[in-house]
Structure formats: structure tokens, C-alpha cells
């Protein structure tokens, strides 16, 4: 239970960080952290199916696609 609380707080911090970071790469990494913690939480809540999908797509592929898109456009939010 205490783990779930700690993870949830960390997830909230990462989510707020993703909103406030001006450096888009940092924002994307914060989004990946949200996905990763969500995946762990899904596992703790006994939904391993969803946890696997979240880890592979949310934390892996989406992050890579965002980073490539940022590299092809601009790194800093204006």
C-alpha cells in the first residue's frame, strides 16, 4: 500500500513536470516516467496484461517516436 502511495506521488510529480518543462526532451522523459510508473502500478493492481502493453508502448515506443519528432523540429518550447 505504501509503495502504491509513493509511486502515485512520483507519477504526479512527473506529470506536472511534463507540463512545465521548457525543454521538450525533458518533458518527453517525464512522460515516459509517468508511463513506466503506471505500468508498475498496473502490475501491483494485478493487471499484468495492461502493464506489459503500457511498458512496451507507453514507455518505449511512444518516447522514441516523440524524441525523433523533436529532433526533426525544435527542442525548446517558445
Amino acid at each position: 500500500m505504501i509503495y502504491i502511495a509513493i509511486l502515485t506521488v512520483a507519477m504526479l510529480i512527473a506529470g506536472v513536470g511534463a507540463y512545465f518543462f521548457r525543454d521538450l526532451i525533458a518533458a518527453v522523459v517525464a512522460c515516459a516516467a509517468v508511463s513506466l510508473i503506471a505500468s508498475v502500478l498496473f502490475y501491483l493492481l494485478q493487471a499484468p496484461d495492461v502493464a506489459m502493453a503500457e511498458a512496451a508502448i507507453g514507455a518505449g515506443l511512444t518516447t522514441a517516436i516523440f524524441v525523433i519528432a523533436i529532433r526533426k523540429t525544435g527542442r525548446y518550447e517558445k
Binding site: A53, A56, I57, A64
Partner: protein
């Protein structure tokens, strides 16, 4: 003023939703109207009906297999849209970024990614072939396979993926799904009927058509997501 109006509308909606949800007896079996009827049916009869001990798979590929076909189609359309969008002719002088090129990664990164690539592919295949027994399935296995291709793209500059191979894999997998559904329609009377023998529970070759369908979905999702990654890297070779 405008912010106040929108805030009060939002608060009204939230309070209304909360009040109406509080009257639905989720999970309350003693209530007069049992909202968990379908879920209980799946829990009690799922293994017997489908032969798949993983009840998520039993729902996704037996009771609600048609919805899964829709999901796969949605992913296909998303991949197609991204492909069309990224294959638009570029403006003059705007392709410096791709031409600039990156220095090749170090030997350790290159060899490491090449060593891990088949292992990750194997793991993805394991996930979707055991989808009816253990957690996971076609979507999860497919995304793990796509992440193997992503690793190759990241670790090896100039890595290319043949778009035609991806397209053929994806089309064959999709056609397999629909053909199995049509055979079920012919044999058992409804689309995606589980017409093969169920076998013994917990065996790899059991649960009828479910492993075949999950293999098809895994290959299709893997090919689609790998195609998206290849398109984003802009290095999918034509033909």
C-alpha cells in the same frame, strides 16, 4: 467571467457524474440489479467455453473477437495515415536534418543491439504464442517485437527495413484473421467461431483458434508498429 462560467459548468458535470455513478452498485452482488452478471459468467464459464485459462484472452479473442478485429483495423489505419503523412514530398532545402547523418555508435552499442535483437524477437513471439496461457498476447508481443526493431534503428546508423516485407507480413496476418473468422462462420454459424478442438487446458496447443489468431495479431501489430518506427526514422527503403 468566462473562466467562472466554464469552471461552474465543469463542476456541475463532475458533481452530476459522481452522483449518478454512486448509485450504480458496481461489484455489489446482493443488489437488486446485478451489474456484474456478465463478468461473473466469464469468470465461471470462461475456461470451459474457450479453453483459455487467461480470461483476458478468453474475452478478447473469443467472446469479443469482432471488437479485436476492429482494434487491429484502427491500428492499421493509424499506421497508414502516418505513412501517407510522412511520405509527402519535402520542401526544397528542408531535408538537411536527415542528410547530416550521425556518427556511428560505438562497437559495444552496435554489437550489443545486434545480440539482443533476436532475443527480444524470441521474447515477443513467446508472449503472443502463450497469450492464452499467461498474461500478454498479440498486442503486447507485437509491441515487444517493434521495440526490438527500434533498438536496431537506435544502435545501428543506416539500418533499413524493407517496407514491402512489413506490408506483406501485415497483409497476410490480417487476411489470416478474417479467413479464420469466415471459416468459423461456415462451420459453426457465426463469425470467428472457435471451430478447432479445445484440447486440454494449460497445453500450448489448446483453446482452438485462439493461438492462431494471437499469432496473426502479434505479427500484424509488430509489423505495423515497426513500420511506424521506420517511417519516423525516415529510413524505410522503398520496394
Amino acid at each position: 467571467m468566462r473562466a467562472f462560467v466554464s469552471f461552474s459548468v465543469l463542476a456541475l458535470i463532475v458533481v452530476g457524474l459522481a452522483l449518478s455513478l454512486s448509485h450504480i452498485p458496481f461489484g455489489n452482488s446482493t443488489a437488486n440489479t446485478d451489474r456484474m452478471h456478465v463478468a461473473k459468467y466469464y469468470l465461471n464459464n470462461g475456461v470451459k467455453d474457450t479453453g483459455a485459462p487467461n480470461l483476458v484472452t478468453a474475452v478478447v479473442l473469443d467472446y469479443r473477437a469482432l471488437d479485436t478485429l476492429g482494434e487491429v483495423t484502427v491500428l492499421f489505419i493509424a499506421s497508414l495515415g502516418l505513412g501517407i503523412f510522412l511520405s509527402w514530398p519535402k520542401k526544397e532545402g528542408s531535408e538537411d536534418d536527415d542528410k547530416r547523418g550521425l556518427p556511428p555508435a560505438s562497437l559495444i552499442v552496435r554489437r550489443g543491439s545486434q545480440f539482443l535483437f533476436p532475443l527480444i524477437l524470441l521474447f515477443g513471439g513467446y508472449i503472443f504464442l502463450h497469450g492464452h496461457l499467461t498474461p500478454g498476447g498479440g498486442f503486447q508481443g507485437g509491441s515487444v517485437i517493434a521495440s526490438a526493431f527500434l533498438l536496431m534503428f537506435l544502435g545501428n546508423t543506416g539500418y533499413r527495413l524493407r517496407q514491402k516485407t512489413l506490408a506483406v507480413t501485415e497483409s497476410l496476418a490480417g487476411i489470416t484473421f478474417v479467413i479464420i473468422g469466415l471459416i468459423g462462420l461456415g462451420v459453426g454459424g457465426y463469425f470467428l467461431n472457435n471451430f478447432l478442438p479445445k484440447g486440454s487446458v494449460f497445453a500450448l496447443f489448446s483453446a482452438g483458434v485462439i493461438p492462431i489468431l494471437y499469432a496473426a495479431i502479434g505479427l500484424k501489430v509488430g509489423a505495423e508498429l515497426a513500420g511506424i518506427v521506420a517511417n519516423m526514422f525516415g529510413s524505410g527503403s522503398e520496394g
